[in-house]
């Protein structure tokens, strides 16, 4: 095999490996987070009948609502626990994310080397994550306060404007959050790409510089990733609602699982594509 062909293979296989890595981590974390909720549902005996848990999906939701009524005390606690677990796993996902960026940026390392590097970078990734969380919370707060401040101005307007205006502001806040999320990705890419150690602050400053220089590339790159993910999930919903039979069968469960995981993989693929762009943007801004 020529060097050229090897390079091409690397270019093809590294994103795939990054995608698979992210999918595996998300699946493992998802299983761990959701298991307490599944146990709580099973503990209600609502899934212990001859039709198993298919009764919860019957049209009309008679028995699904019965599950909520009977299992409310356990389900509430289990849901809280699941959400807390998700928050913890969202932090731990920084490690596979770092490894995925490493896979995209530097070919030739072993998985163990990448893991060791990801663990070394974890504190910096964590600091970036905390900064991101604070900035995004502030953005949403500003959007919400702006909505409240403008409420009197809309008091005499028609009901539609009164409803839509605060929602639109919140939507803009969310878009701004996503934009800042893209900046964080570029900062992470900078941290991963640099061989010499650099701090979170420097990486963030460089990412903001990149945003200033190429705002449209950052915007379009990150948003196309989001739109792609959303499309994947909506398509899965549509496919399942339209084509998967309601009857409780093993095949229906398997088909649903396959469609859901394909949607997840598709969304991750879009994310990996954007991470590749983030690495390029970071490279160009050096």
């Amino acid at each position: 095999m020529t060097d050229k062909a090897e390079n091409r293979l690397d270019r093809l296989s590294m994103p795939a490996a990054a995608g698979v890595l992210l999918w595996i981590s998300r699946t493992v974390f998802g299983l761990l987070a959701s298991y307490p909720l599944v146990l709580a549902i099973r503990a209600t005996s609502m899934t212990a009948g001859p039709d198993g848990d298919a009764v919860l999906f019957q049209p009309g939701s008679l028995l699904l609502l019965e599950l909520l009524r009977l299992g409310a005390p356990w389900l509430g606690s289990a849901a809280e626990f699941a959400l807390l677990s998700l928050a913890l796993f969202a932090v731990l996902e920084l490690i596979p994310l770092s490894m995925a960026l490493d896979l995209l940026a530097v070919p030739g390392r072993t998985l163990l080397e990448r893991l060791a590097r990801a663990l070394r970078l974890f504190p910096k990734f964590f600091v970036l994550g905390v900064i991101g969380l604070l900035v995004q919370a502030a953005l949403l707060l500003v959007a919400s306060l702006l909505g409240s401040a403008l409420k009197p101005a809309f008091a005499s307007a028609d009901e539609r404007l009164q409803t839509i205006a605060p929602l639109a502001l919140l939507g803009l806040g969310l878009l701004a959050c996503a934009w800042f999320g893209a900046v964080l990705d570029i900062a992470r890419a900078t941290l991963v790409r640099h061989v010499a150690p650099s701090g979170s602050r420097v990486a963030l400053a460089q990412a903001l510089d990149c945003l200033r220089q190429q705002p449209l590339r950052v915007l379009l790159g990150s948003y196309s990733s989001m739109v792609g993910s959303a499309l994947a999930f909506l398509t899965a919903c549509w496919l399942l609602a339209r084509f998967v039979p309601l009857e409780p069968s093993g095949a229906a469960v398997a088909l649903t699982f396959a469609v859901h995981q394909l949607a997840t993989l598709f969304a991750i693929t879009w994310r990996v594509r954007w991470l590749g762009s983030a690495l390029e943007l970071s490279d160009e801004s050096d």
């Binding site: 909720l37 599944v38 099973r42 198993g52 848990d53 009309g60 939701s61 994550g129």
Partner: protein, 666 residues
């Protein structure tokens, strides 16, 4: 008035959303059932219809609305006929606008906001009667001799006794002439103003219903209670600014304009109340549905809601006509209040109903508009035509109507009668059960509105549990049979004031005494039911062993060596907790895939299900068709020998976690 607007609706929507959220978390697959066809016209036999009631109190009213000061100046004539069997020495007037006079009235004095809206008044309202005379008499003002307050309640002026100067013999008539002035409150509940929007109910001095024994069914206006009145004819003239649009009980029969004001005349025959609304921003749509002129008044930009309301009427009016007898009036007015006047929404008056909901109510699969419109329309029968005492037996209108609403919505939308979209669905029946399950022992259903501990309790029992009781009977006796029985009741007591006893008599005739027993226990005795199974037993059948004395002498048979059994004896014991005896099916599934259905008539407290066959019993399911909606706990209705793995739940929970991590993770 319905649960839709406040406590119950909010609770309902919240619970539904919780359910749907969980389902969304689990991302239900599959679509909802296709809508079921409307009720068949199968030529059932009905009792003859009464076309008009005996009239007791007919009103002629002239009212002028000052939209700036929110005051009404009125003159009223009541043509009253003593149709009781005794002479009368007094009259009882309901002055329900006085419920909003101050914070000490019976209606407003609860510190917990006991009313349906839970709101206190911001600007108070009241009615002042200026003068009451008898036409053709000596002009004496009877009002000066009235009691100053409601019986045994010095703080309340909603239930006022007026002595008559002389006895009014049975069968005699008189014309009472009144002058009154209303100050409308800022909208508290049903009545009042918000800005230039006015909704005006319980606004004129009105006689309490005269019972056949000569007593007046009078009661102060309690926040949990509704109304009760005699049938009569109403001729009402309304004077409003010409910029205002008006909707009212009855048909508009005249309209004149003079100096920037419009005088509108309305006539309503054979009704027992009159309400109206006036607003300078109403938009209107009209349409003829099943021979009735239907008019919708709605706020600007609510065209989608107006269309949804008309669509509901297009389905439900013919449906109710077929079920409960034809709607007898030429007009029906629907009022959709503006969003800031939601407290006047979800209410029924003769020939006029109010709906409600924000402009986006029709989006996203929720059937809010359909639910509230169908419910309020149903009240034209269970309240309007069957004018039961809502104060003492509120379940007869609200409960029966909740059943009628659910039945009509499910005829229209199948199981997606409350929500249908994104592959998810929720039915009215499921929600009624959710609100009322395990509440059967809290309080009696069949009690006065003011006797309920809280309005939430009233809502759960009067609306939801009554509907669930009736739905259970419909599922046990067959929907068509039960609906026919309810149709007989609705026709037989049309233009009357039926009681629980009247209803039970019809059920005795149309169903059977077991149905009446179940109804009596469920409605009046806090009866509940819970069917449950605890264990499944399987044992191989083998030849009996031991020492046997027979004609041929003593014989000793050894136990057979262990081998693959060819027959098994299986047993399940089904228990019934509670005092409601309802027949139930029991489904048995065997390991070889065969199914058996056993029937238990519900008598006794246990029922042994035994079987001898070639396969072990794998599972048991009590009430697989989910007929006994009153069953307090459905999670103990089944048992299986298989493991409880919940693959669908696991799969969807995993996917939900993955989506959340993708959305909120790094």
């Amino acid at each position: 008035m319905r649960r839709v607007t406040h406590d119950l609706l909010l609770g309902g929507v919240f619970s539904a959303l919780c359910g749907l959220l969980l389902n969304a978390l689990l991302l239900t697959t599959g679509s909802t059932k296709a809508p079921l066809p409307a009720a068949k016209n199968a030529e059932p036999v009905w009792p003859p219809l009464v076309e008009s009631p005996p009239k007791v109190a007919s009103y002629t009213i002239e009212a002028k609305l000052d939209t700036e000061r929110h005051r009404i100046t009125g003159r009223e004539t009541i043509h009253f006929i003593n149709r009781s069997n005794t002479a009368l020495n007094e009259l009882w007037f309901h002055l329900y606008l006085n419920a909003f006079k101050n914070d000490k009235t019976l209606f407003l004095r609860s510190p917990f906001g006991a009313g349906r809206s839970g709101d206190k008044a911001k600007e108070y309202g009241y009615v002042d009667v200026k003068r009451l005379t008898i036409r053709g008499a000596d002009g004496q003002d009877l009002w000066v001799n009235r009691d100053r307050h409601s019986p045994n309640d010095p703080e309340d002026e909603t239930d006022i006794r007026v002595p008559l100067p002389s006895s009014l013999e049975s069968g005699s008539e008189l014309d009472l002439e009144l002058e009154f002035e209303d100050q409308l409150p800022e909208l508290v509940e049903r009545t009042g103003f918000v800005g230039s929007y006015h909704f005006i109910g319980q606004w004129f001095p009105k006689l309490a219903r005269l019972e056949p024994n000569g007593t007046f069914a009078h009661f102060s206006f309690h926040a949990q209670s509704e109304f009760y009145a005699d049938f009569g004819d109403y001729d009402v003239s309304l004077d409003v600014p010409s910029t205002f649009r008006v909707g009212a009980t009855g048909s508009r029969i005249r309209e004149t304009q003079d100096k920037g004001r419009t005088q509108l005349g309305y006539r309503a025959a054979n009704v027992h109340d009159f309400a109206w609304t006036a607003w300078d921003r109403f938009e209107t749509r009209s349409e003829r549905v099943a021979g009735t002129e239907v008019r919708v008044l709605y706020p600007p930009h609510h065209e989608q809601n107006a269309e949804a309301e008309l669509a509901s009427v297009r389905f439900a009016l013919p449906h109710f006509n077929a079920r409960y007898g034809p709607y007898p009036y030429p007009t029906l007015t629907l009022v959709h209040p503006p969003e800031n006047a939601a407290n006047s929404g979800g209410m029924e008056y003769p020939q006029l109903i109010t709906t409600g909901g924000p402009w986006y109510s029709t989006y996203g699969g929720a059937r809010f508009i359909d639910v509230v419109t169908t419910h309020e329309l149903g009240h034209q029968w269970f309240y309007g035509l069957l004018a039961s005492n809502e104060h003492t037996e509120p379940f007869l209108d609200e409960g029966f109507n909740s059943y009628a609403e659910a039945e009509a919505l499910e005829a229209r939308y199948g199981n997606a009668s409350v929500f249908g979209g994104f592959g998810l669905s929720a039915s009215s029946t499921a929600l009624n059960r959710l609100f009322s399950a395990a509440r059967g022992e809290d309080e009696k259903i069949a009690q006065g509105a003011a006797d309920f501990a809280t309005f939430r309790s009233l809502g759960a029992l009067v609306y939801s549990r009554t509907a669930t009781v009736l739905s259970t009977l419909a599922r046990v006796y067959g929907r068509e049979r039960f609906n026919h029985a309810l149709g007989v009741y609705a026709r037989k007591f049309r233009f009357q004031h039926p009681t629980q006893a009247d209803f039970l008599n019809v059920m005795q005739t149309e169903l059977d005494s077991r149905a009446v027993t179940a109804l009596t226990r469920a409605l009046s005795e806090r009866a509940t039911v819970d069917y449950l199974v605890r264990e499944i037993s399987n044992a191989p059948v083998s030849a009996p062993a031991g020492v046997f004395d027979g004609p041929g002498g003593r014989e000793q048979k050894k136990p057979e060596a262990p081998h693959e059994a060819t027959e098994y004896t299986s047993r399940v014991v089904v228990y019934r907790h509670g005092t409601l005896e309802l027949p139930v099916d029991i489904e048995l599934r065997f390991e070889d895939g065969t199914l058996q259905l056993r029937h238990w008539d519900g008598s006794g407290f246990t029922f042994n299900v035994d079987n001898v066959g070639p396969s072990k019993l794998a599972s048991v399911y009590v009430d697989p068709e989910q007929r006994i909606l009153l069953d307090d706990d459905r999670s103990n209705n089944w048992l299986t020998t298989r493991s409880n793995s919940a693959p669908r739940v696991s799969e969807r929970a995993l996917y939900a976690a993955q989506v959340l991590l993708g959305a909120f993770g790094p």
